[in-house]
Amino acid sequence: GIMADDILPNVGHVLLVLSGKGGVGKSTVATQLALALVEAGKKVGLLDIDLCGPSVAKMLDLEGRDIHQCSDGWLPVYADPSQQLGVMSIAFMLSHRDDAIVWRGPKKNAMIKQFLTDVAWGELEYLIIDTPPGTSDEHITVVENLQSCNPDGAILVSTPQAVSLGDVRRELSFCKRTHLPVLGIVENMSGFVCPHCSECTNVFSSGGGEAFAQDFHIPFLGRIPLDPKLSQCTEEGQSLAKVFPTSPTIQAVRTVVDNLVAQLKSRTNAKHGST
């Protein structure tokens, strides 16, 4: 087994971004949260444990980078010269971008364990872990291996529609079964504002995320709209805040971060018995 001090010894908050449903924006939300926290002056790590479809490296324009090893372990790939955002992903370990990782469970589990024990993250205020959709090997392994370092909990991501929320319910059950606290739910792709006429269309339905939060008594962290500019930025590995600083989407992301930080604070206070 892994000793308590082998796992993430200097990380303040460990957050998992989960869904159950694919393609709702886990990687996008994980990346945007990381960027927003860095902007707020925090030191952040971003770990992508989606081994089959690792999107984070692309979203931060880090494709083609190598992982360097030092005496303390593997160094994260830094997204910025001041090393405020360290990233780890299997994407950095592929000879060719189109290579498919065709691994069954045991090999995936071993890799994820390595990401948790062998990466020299250094001191971090936040470690955000992006996950693949589902409730299988990757999720079981990461939760098992994180037990000794008391992760703060899970951020659930969904689109507003029933088909997505149907899977997120199961993810919520997963969290309950594995005693992983749920910090809240983010409703992504929440409405599309036509750039020509400003009409808002609920492309993937509406209101589902907030109703889910109410029905299942979990915090609603906020909603992020469907924004082609955000898609563009994730395509090109750019920060939305830098390229489109007046975008309402940035405010939406900041609201989610503020709500998340408030959740973390109230849980820490509850733990320490302060008011």
Binding site: G23, C52, I101, V102, K108, I140, R170, E236
Partner: protein, 322 residues
């Protein structure tokens, strides 16, 4: 002096039941290696024969794959099933092997149905006389039940679906898959390997973040020698219902699926637009093709479906490289 961590081997796990289990070069470093290497050689799997028997009455098999989550595999699988079943003379079966996130029961309007067993095996759920469905969703007691299984158990259920479900004689078996290139995908290909599979329909959205994963899926298909019927670009353009202007919500910054298909030498089957009524139909368990048959999206679907069925019955219309 910093050393660079070497690339990983993407070589397949040969499978825990394979002759090479524990001995293949891909096995080094796997925590299971000792267990696999010391296991006694296995007799041929009798289930494979049973699967072949069940599949003997299935004329065409189509796998709907992606690599990327949330691009519309289940949505497409459902409309493909509805579309082919519109011809009452065709018998269609839809198998959902997404064990963690089974969307098909809801999309096909049969959420909450239960599977019955008979002498001839498990009965699939009939949504129409000529359209039957099977999914782990029907085996769960409650919509909150999470299937938290590791690979081997998922593989076991997939095998059961193929071995024990009494599909009867079927013209088209459509298999909806979860995203990725892992246990479920290896298993379905493995278990169907003794039968004829027409091929894979690969779904993507236009943006590079999707194409990145979809190229990997295509690599996977080539590795396991699964023919590729073609690629479909979903969520391709959105027409504002008010001003009718088109926007690209998921911009094809690197040329979209058509360019990728060309670069990789596989057929491009067509584009499907983002119509909010599609998602709504899925949420409500109704056939979009029936509810909105005059819509441009439905026309686009029918065109793609036609390409696929033509490929199955007449052979590839253009070169579909394996």
């Amino acid at each position: 002096m910093q050393v660079i961590v070497p690339s990983v081997s993407v070589l397949d796990c040969p499978g825990t039941e394979s002759e090479d289990a524990g001995k293949a070069s891909a096995c080094s470093g796997c925590p299971n290696q000792e267990i696999c290497a010391s296991a006694k050689p296995r007799a041929p799997d009798p289930d494979v024969g049973q699967v072949r028997e069940r599949m003997a009455g299935v004329k065409h098999k189509i796998l709907v794959l992606s690599g990327k989550g949330g691009v519309g595999k289940s949505t497409f699988s459902a409309q493909l099933a509805y579309g082919i079943a519109a011809d009452e003379a065709k018998q269609v079966a839809l198998l959902d092997i997404d064990i963690c996130g089974p969307s098909i029961p809801r999309i096909m309007g049969c959420d909450g149905e239960q599977v019955h067993q008979s002498n001839s095996g498990w009965s699939p759920i009939y949504v129409e006389d000529n359209l039957s469905v099977m999914s782990v969703g029907f085996l769960l007691g409650s919509p909150d039940d999470a299937v938290i299984w590791r690979g081997p158990k998922k593989n076991g259920l997939i095998k059961q679906f193929l071995r024990d479900v009494d599909w009867g004689d079927v013209d088209y078996l459509i298999v909806d898959t979860p995203p990725g290139t892992s246990d479920e995908h290896l298993s379905i290909v493995q278990y169907l390997s003794s039968t004829h599979v027409d091929g894979a329909v690969v779904i993507t959205t236009p943006q590079e973040v999707s194409l990145l994963d979809v190229r990997k899926e295509i690599s996977f298909c080539r590795k396991v020698k699964l023919p590729i019927i073609g690629v479909v670009e979903n969520m391709s353009g959105f027409v504002c219902p008010k001003c009718k202007h088109q926007s690209q919500i998921f911009p094809p910054t690197t040329g979209g699926a058509e360019k990728m298909a060309k670069d990789m030498g596989i057929p491009f089957l067509g584009r499907l637009p983002l119509d909010p009524r599609i998602g709504k139909s899925c949420d409500e368990g109704k056939s979009f093709l029936t509810e909105h048959e005059d819509s441009p999206a439905a026309a686009a679907y029918r065109s793609v479906i036609n390409e696929i069925t033509t490929h199955c019955t007449e052979g590839p219309t253009t070169d579909s490289q394996c």
